[in-house]
């Protein structure tokens, strides 16, 4: 129960179906998946969770040292699988959770039956011939703005706490937690996310892997998806006709369909 509370673990979808773990990226929480949950949940049991420091994860579990590196988050993923005794689940990781999934899968190669990396980037910063899409200055700019936005950002989130009378289906609880993170924790997570270089970990991936990228993505450009595809032997690359970094929001049907058809193949 400790792990379930720590990561606000939610199990939904089809009982007895194959298990799919959905991991959100930097910025929001498990609500990111809400437009694809119904579709994938028709055939799979879904395990959703919030990374510590995000959403409704237990704030008391926060440890600035543990979560300063992606290994801390990967440890949590493995402990969730252990705690729920998940049998060979598919791990679907969005954005930085792609790297977290790669780290977890490499540490316990028999744990997952497959990986789905949604808009992954193993390294956000340009490096010689590698184009991550950002300079070190851009990342420093983000980290600085996370700090200086402290005042503006927290006050701008206030209306969300009060709820949205025009759209009651969103519910007060949801609006209060969605994308609402403690600025200090967000900074640590941002540092771990955008300063990590996990390019060398890709070659060690030994499970079937699907890479889902968007045709237009300001954070993970197509070259990065191609790089990940080239590094992971036998991986599949699917480019969605979608814009932005979050295809599960901008193109939920296509995203769910791509995940479903890949998993169907993996389970056959």
């Amino acid at each position: 129960m400790r792990v379930r509370n720590r990561n606000n673990v939610v199990v939904t979808g089809r009982q007895g179906g194959p298990t799919v773990v959905l991991a959100h990226g930097f910025g929001c929480d498990q609500q990111m998946w809400r437009h694809v949950v119904a579709e994938i949940g028709q055939w799979a049991q879904l395990v959703l969770f919030d990374h510590v420091g995000s959403g409704k994860a237990d704030p008391a579990a926060w440890d600035a040292d543990r979560y300063a590196s992606l290994d801390g988050y990967a440890d949590d993923v493995l402990s969730i699988c252990q705690d729920l005794d998940l049998q060979q689940p598919v791990f679907v990781g969005h954005s930085v959770s792609s790297s977290i999934g790669v780290l977890a899968a490499n540490r316990e190669p028999d744990r997952f039956s497959a990986l789905v990396l949604v808009t992954p980037s193993p390294c956000y910063i340009d490096d010689e011939n590698y184009r991550g899409g950002f300079t070190r200055d851009d990342i420093d700019d983000l980290l600085g703005s996370l700090e200086s936005n402290y005042l503006g950002w927290s006050s701008s989130m206030a209306p969300l706490i009060m709820g949205n009378p025009e759209r009651p289906e969103l519910g007060e609880e949801l609006t209060a937690s969605f994308c609402r993170t403690d600025p200090a924790m967000a900074q640590v997570f941002a540092r771990a996310t955008f300063l990590s270089d996990n390019r060398a970990d890709l070659a060690a991936v030994s499970v079937p892997t699907l890479i889902l990228q968007c045709a237009q993505d300001a954070i993970a450009p197509p070259e990065v998806g191609a790089f990940v595809h080239a590094q992971i032997a036998g991986s599949r690359l699917v480019t969605l006709d979608a814009t932005g970094h979050c295809p599960q929001l901008s193109a939920p049907e296509a995203t769910a369909a791509a995940i479903t058809s890949f998993c169907r193949a993996a389970y056959r």
Binding site: G25, F26, G27, C28, Q31, M32, R34, S95, F134, T135, D137, D138, I139, D140, D141, L142, L143, G144, S145, L146, E147, S148, N149, Y150, L151, G152, W153, S155, S156, P159, L160, N164, E166, R167, L170, T175, F178, C179, F194, Q216, D217, A218, I219, T243, G244, H245, C246, L249, S250
Partner: protein, 419 residues
């Protein structure tokens, strides 16, 4: 835009009596303010984008701020292209998802990158405009110049950082001063046990409790535990005075009652105007080497009675009397004797312990109180100095926010007979 209702709260009349009632015609300047002009030259930037962020419409104000021509942006660039690198990530990871989920997002602080590369702090508000059937069509964004506000925020942030630094410095000073008033390492008389614990109610103030255990030249040991009225720097000055007066007194006259009398005189002379005084138990102990315990001569000035936890499991408060030290000019103090045998533990404490207000206290005044402490001591006895202090420390932990005053504990015990 002619007002047609006679019930207009601003009193605008119908078209017939414009001359009598104020109306738009009364403000000829408004004739120049058509909607197109209002959009183009609004005091804020306006931007409409497709759902994928592609810029579809932009007003003149924003173009001027950015330094671009309209054709360089419309149909060519996305909103996130106008942001700084960090802002772009922020937009993709926070702004766009929230907008997609909630349909609106307001007052987000971002920075635009203008054509010449300079940065412009702005506040951004966006809403998703839905079509007639509720399907999202485009995103309308209003952008406000936030240069002044950002400068102000930075000042607030700097002020907060400065305050945090000052706070840190203060805590450091308080900690240092506090440590200087307590023994760095508690010494233990040969053949006996000792342990002490101090908990300041706040890290912002120097606490007013003090204790010590120290050897005299002739094999005897002095010890005291006291509590100065008040907190902070003034209390610390009295604490220092009390502590060194007592230690100095033992050098030429190791008699507890005389030492307290001496301290009373000093405090009365020095602080009667400020009503500064203290309560203290002061003792001189002589190890009874043959038996393995000690005998202590004790005097108390208005301090809670120490506890003796016996080897046989019984406990009792050691009765003392004597007025608060420094409160009256002519207070007299009397010595009493306590005999501590092997297996006994002698426990001194300050009233932070008995005056605490634990959550769920069942006493009439909500205080922990001497009877509860006696029951607690009975559950411990027989014990050792270290175990008693550990147990009291754990007890204090359970008080939580109910612990409002500084608390000091000093235990001196005689080890049980070896078998």
């Amino acid at each position: 835009m002619t007002a047609t209702s006679g019930h207009d709260p601003r009193g605008q009349g119908s078209g017939d009596d414009r001359s009598a009632q104020p109306s738009e015609a009364g403000f000829p300047a408004l004739l120049e303010d058509d909607l197109e002009d209002l959009y183009e030259n609004a005091p804020c930037g306006h931007l409409s984008t497709l759902l994928d962020g592609t810029i579809a419409k932009i007003n003149g104000t924003l173009l001027t701020w950015l330094g671009y021509r309209r054709e360089e942006l419309v149909g060519q660039r996305r909103f996130s292209d106008l942001l700084t690198g960090g802002g772009r990530i922020y937009h993709e990871t926070h702004f766009a998802p929230i907008l997609a989920m909630q349909g609106e997002i307001g007052g987000v602080s971002l920075e635009l990158r203008t054509k010449d590369g300079t940065r412009m702090p702005v506040l951004v508000t966006s809403i998703v405009k839905a079509g007639s059937e509720g399907q999202p069509q485009l995103i309308r964004t209003a952008i406000f110049d936030a240069k002044m506000r950002r400068a102000y925020e930075r000042e607030l942030l700097d002020a907060r950082k400065a305050a945090e630094r000052e706070d840190e410095r203060l805590r450091h000073l308080v900690g240092k001063l506090q440590r200087s008033l307590l023994p760095a390492v508690l010494q233990t008389p040969p053949g006996l046990d000792s342990a002490a614990y101090y908990r300041a109610a706040s890290t912002d103030h120097v606490g007013g409790d003090f204790y010590d255990l120290f050897p005299l030249v002739d094999g005897r040991w002095g010890f005291f535990l006291g509590d100065v009225s008040g907190k902070g720097v003034e209390a610390a000055a009295v604490t220092a005075l009390a502590r060194y007066t007592l230690r100095a007194a033992t050098v030429y006259d190791p008699d507890p009652a005389a030492a307290l009398h001496n301290l009373n005189t000093v405090l009365w002379q020095e602080y009667r105007e400020d009503a500064r005084y203290c309560t203290v138990v002061f003792g001189i102990l002589t190890p009874t080497t043959a038996v393995g315990g000690f005998t202590a001569i004790i005097a108390s000035g208005g301090h809670p009675e120490p506890l003796l936890l016996r080897a046989d499991g019984s406990i009792h408060y050691h009765p003392t009397k004597g007025r608060i030290v420094g409160a009256f000019p002519d207070s007299r103090y009397t010595n009493t004797t306590v005999v501590v045998n092997p297996g006994d533990t002698f426990l001194l404490y300050s009233d932070g312990l008995t005056e605490a207000r634990p959550v769920g206290s069942e006493t009439a005044d909500g205080r922990y109180g001497a009877p509860a402490l006696a029951r607690f001591a009975r559950s411990l006895a027989p014990t050792t100095a270290a175990a008693a202090v550990t147990a009291v420390t754990a007890l204090l932990d359970t008080f939580g926010a109910g612990l409002t005053d500084d608390t000091a504990v000093l235990a001196i015990g005689a080890p049980p007979h070896r078998a």
